[in-house]
Symmetry: C2
Subunit: 457 residues, 2 copies
Amino acid sequence: MSQALVTDLYELNMAASYLRRGMTGLATFSLFVRDLPRGRGFLVAGGLEDCLAYLETFAFAEEDLRWLSAAGFAGDSIGAFASLRFTGDVHAIPEGRVVLPNEPLLEVTAPIAQAQLVETYLLNQVTFQTAIATKAARCRLAAGGDIDLVDFALRRTHGVDAGMAVARLSAIAGFTATSNVEAARRFGLQAAGTMAHSYIEAFADEASAFRAFATDLPGRTTFLVDTYDTLAGVEAAIGVIRELGLTRSLAVRLDSGDLAALARETRRLLDAAGLPQVRIFVSGGLDELDLERMRLEGVPVDAAGVGTRLGVSADAPSLDSAYKLVAYDGRPVLKLSEGKATLPGPKQVWRRMPVTEDLLARRDEPGSAGYEPLLLPVMRAGQRTGPPDTVAAARARLERDLAGLPAHARDLREPVPPQVRVSGSLRDLAATLTDDLRHRGKTERSMPGGTGSGRLT
Amino acid sequence: MSQALVTDLYELNMAASYLRRGMTGLATFSLFVRDLPRGRGFLVAGGLEDCLAYLETFAFAEEDLRWLSAAGFAGDSIGAFASLRFTGDVHAIPEGRVVLPNEPLLEVTAPIAQAQLVETYLLNQVTFQTAIATKAARCRLAAGGDIDLVDFALRRTHGVDAGMAVARLSAIAGFTATSNVEAARRFGLQAAGTMAHSYIEAFADEASAFRAFATDLPGRTTFLVDTYDTLAGVEAAIGVIRELGLTRSLAVRLDSGDLAALARETRRLLDAAGLPQVRIFVSGGLDELDLERMRLEGVPVDAAGVGTRLGVSADAPSLDSAYKLVAYDGRPVLKLSEGKATLPGPKQVWRRMPVTEDLLARRDEPGSAGYEPLLLPVMRAGQRTGPPDTVAAARARLERDLAGLPAHARDLREPVPPQVRVSGSLRDLAATLTDDLRHRGKTERSMPGGTGSGRLT
């Protein structure tokens, strides 16, 4: 199946109208997030790779065209759709970079019908993946350097392709492994997993289950100890480790109850048994605040599985993203809808370290010494400008940006995000266009600076 | 690609161990939700169709086996995986039915390796789709009979397959249309859509854009009026309707600002212009509480687009679901982990109208007069027992169950859910097994009734 119908009907309506009228002027659309969700001091860019793969292969299949014809689209529209490909340019902030409100994550410049048709897919991927990448980065910050993190989200993500994206984005955030086997294969990640409670229950007792598992799956031995009574389970694991003389990489997993208290008691039992090398793995409804608490309280946890709350970004499952026309046929454009006003024209975001303040400017403004541009040309005339990005490269970008964020922006509970300063030239352009619209009688509404919806200074 | 690796690594570990040991005993796993999210008085079953399609075609591809071999699985495991198919039975509550905590949505009985391998996919689909179906049903309840609802979620769902599921589930909940074109094609739904603000901006003024749209897309005329100034936009729409003599199905869409106040003023303008037949369509960050407020306040809204908050089930993006072993090799099983204890054995849920109390019983208990069983045999020996379910059938089930729910359970803010009563026979079985486990020294933990986690009475 082609992905051309993975779109909202209005995109097809508008494209049909533009194509019929010969409106082939170049449009620039800017994809950005208006506001940070509560408790977020920054976002992490995600979704670009999937967007580029989609744009490169965009085309209506015969079957799509037949359906559209039956749905009432006129013959000239069907004919125009048949030959339509994405031939535009894309500037974007690479995955893994820290981004702030009103900074374009992605800007598309293409004949307006093309740029419009791809809106739904681009918004879907960038919004969802940026929300997840941000959540994963928060988990990684919370866990600090001493707790390894494993993605356990697949069973609770919104479908299978969401699960694949979560595994990849958590790897970008520095997770060491994923439980998701297909994602491990697809993206070259480390797969990790142990046993479920049902495995323990299928044997006569815990020790029998542990013994069977260690025998059948050498090299993958983490004992799940909380099926009946956690500390008795730890003792059973110790017994089997001694009985079988296990010496390789070993761990016990705690999945219920007061994890902090149980981890301390478990550590004591393991150490007393002369098994300081056996690691403690925790799981069960964890999020970044739980991880931070464990780290700050010095709970002896070596690794944690993070599932549901990561996989749906539970406290912020979506972002207030927008894909807005900022230029058409050579002229900058803005929209003045109440609370949803936009800044006109193609843009660039300039950053210097540490990230106390980004500069949001017109794309054609020169940069300043010491600032680097965040938006890079990633697609020209419908073709990528380089090879596909890698998880490792995105992870390195994220590490660098996180290190450059002030502590108050990294705070997980009451962060103060860096400011986004709008350049004088961009401000002047917005003011001129607003005046012009008012003189033409189109509006009495105020500009974004006045709505309080952005963090523009 | 096969879907056999769309699973957690631990499922493969356990399956490999079971297969090596010749543990082919029949296992029954029960998939249920432990608790209602805050503010929910009921859930709506979703995801079964996708689960059955997955089970029917479950098989490892050659490529899967090569990857697993390289990942360290032994030759005997690879050989056993190669011939593995799902040959089990499934009992399930059909999609669209109202369900309550601890009621099995689905029970799988199969050789334990098979039943274990499919856990991740089944949990993923049922959890996510039940969360979304519930949210959609709440929107439908909130809107009442006078406001048509349209699914606008695709741009904010967690990926593309999530968007398809949201469209289908919202149709089951009684939405009249979806913006999602591929979903409309795939599931035979009504597609709906108008124009974006960018369309208005691409023309010299609003009236020109409205005129062009009405001319190019006869039969699909909803005018988006809030790009610059909403009421001026309404006047422009009125002007174009008169100028072109439009008489077919017409509407204006409000997408920003104080929707209630603007709808009233818009209605006044349209009526004063002699256009009472022009409908008012609202959108923009709506959820069920907004819809209820509009209905209760008599805001003159004819239809509403519901997007982001439906598409991610924003206030409850996941559910506390579980897939638990309840029987193995002829004996009922339970797990006593703190706060996660389970009831043993295969089950049936009995319901009578009105839904003041469901009865959760052992599957082999006889029913009572006036009660109907919710769990039906949907798959036998790996084959469906009937043709695929339809959206229309699921919608009819939901309508009937919602009508049978007491008002206090339908309340959107502070609902009181119906009780789930556990049969005496099931209670006795659980008590006997718990005593047995205690005598075998496995636990000091209490049973579910004592944890406060369920709504068991």
